[in-house]
Amino acid sequence: MSGSAVADFKPFSRTQMALRVANDIPEGWYVNLGIGIPTAVADHVPLDREVIFHSENGVLGMGPAPEKDKIEPWLINAGKQYITLRPGGSMCHHADSFSMIRGGHLDLCVLGAFQVADNGDIANWATSENDTAPAVGGAMDLAAGAKRLWVLMEHTTKDGSPKLVTKCTYPLTAPAAVKRVYTNLATIDVTERGFVVLSMAPGLTFENLQAKTEAKLHLPA
């Protein structure tokens, strides 16, 4: 037995999710990728499409991870992984780096999230009001400051609870900030109507997607 007919669809893999985001980033955009799954998006943007990646610790023009024998110990990204710098890359201090973010100079930020609400609210930094040691990092700056905020995340939690909700129950990172959500099941725009489904994983029906989503889904007008 290979499961019921209801489960007869194929969710996108992590690699496919990152690829789908990468395919939607045009040449010339300045982009910040959050730590976690969003970091993998950079691997799927071909080098001849000039997208300039920003890392909050003062790196603009970040390139791929170095080969093991070519690590530069003074060059790390926000996730504190070793990186490379592309020709044309530049360094700046933290206040200038966050001026790029807060001053509205980034075309796009891609973040992971715990929850996204259908008014664009995002919760991605703490899972309760009494988190033992909450760690916000640059998430609130990115969510409030980038021209566009896209979220890349699983459609539900590990136990199947919806992450696309009518109201975030976790502490907010920013209100009404998310423009688009890429999940392992669908790509969904956040509009004045709420969530509008742009595309779905192969074999998945709209009804089935709705069943995994707390907030109401809409079809494009």
Binding site: W74, M91, M140
Partner: protein, 227 residues
């Protein structure tokens, strides 16, 4: 003759008082003035408020300073690290106060302090629990919150090159918070990998002009490792 280069850690750490606010540069281990932190541990000042992006790793550096009970309060954006055991233990036991600040707000609060701007409005944190209790203002249709400048009594900085006037350069991602910590602090102490003769650093390459620097200690420790 101006000479900000000091010959010993004792000179670098002279007259640091209990109760000081200490701004600590670095992002992970890169650009973090670890040797000066060890000097501060040795120097003995206590009841400190420390502002730093992270809250220490393992049992060394900032983590060691906290473990010794010398830090009353930490101001940071991301207290988690690869090994935040000291911070988490103290925090759960109620032995350290935490002020969590969005990273860009932390950086801007330091720059504001250095620039003589006592407070500024930002959209970061609006509509979140960071905004609770803060002054809100609507400016041209968008809501902002007021954030205060963050001044340091002491700033600890790591540079790549320095000269006797205190002019500094940095290496790659080692720049991070260093220039703004230097600007924001009443007493800025620098550890530098290289000491250059006055005039040997290209003026176009100096990132932190010496006006922001008080003491420089030559610490050629090599490359950062571990985060």
């Amino acid at each position: 003759m101006i000479n900000k280069i000091v010959q010993s850690m004792a000179d670098a750490m002279a007259d640091i008082k209990d109760g000081s606010t200490v701004l600590l540069a670095g992002f992970g281990a890169v650009g973090q003035p670890n040797v000066l932190i060890d000097g501060l541990i040795e120097q003995g000042a206590k009841d400190l408020t420390v502002a730093c992006n992270n809250a220490g790793t393992g049992h060394i550096g900032l983590a060691r300073l906290m473990e010794l009970g010398r830090v009353r309060k930490i101001v940071c954006s991301f207290p988690r690290s690869s090994d935040p055991v000291v911070f988490e233990t103290l925090y759960r036991a109620g032995k350290i106060e935490l002020e969590i600040v969005p990273q860009g707000t932390l950086a801007e609060r330091m720059r504001a302090a250095g620039a003589g701007v006592p407070a500024f409005f930002t959209a970061t944190g609006v509509g979140t629990k960071m905004a609770v209790g803060k002054e809100h203002r609507e400016i041209e249709g968008r809501t902002y919150i007021l954030e205060n400048a963050l001044y340091g009594d002491l700033g600890l900085v790591e540079a790549w090159e320095a000269d006797r006037w205190g002019n500094l350069t940095y290496k790659l991602a080692g720049r991070n918070f260093n220039p703004i910590v230097a600007m924001a602090s009443k007493l800025t102490v620098v550890q530098t990998q290289h000491v250059r003769e006055l005039g040997d650093i290209d003026p176009d390459h100096i990132v932190t002009p010496g006006i922001f620097v008080d003491r420089v200690l030559h610490v050629p420790y090599g490359d950062p490792s571990g985060f």
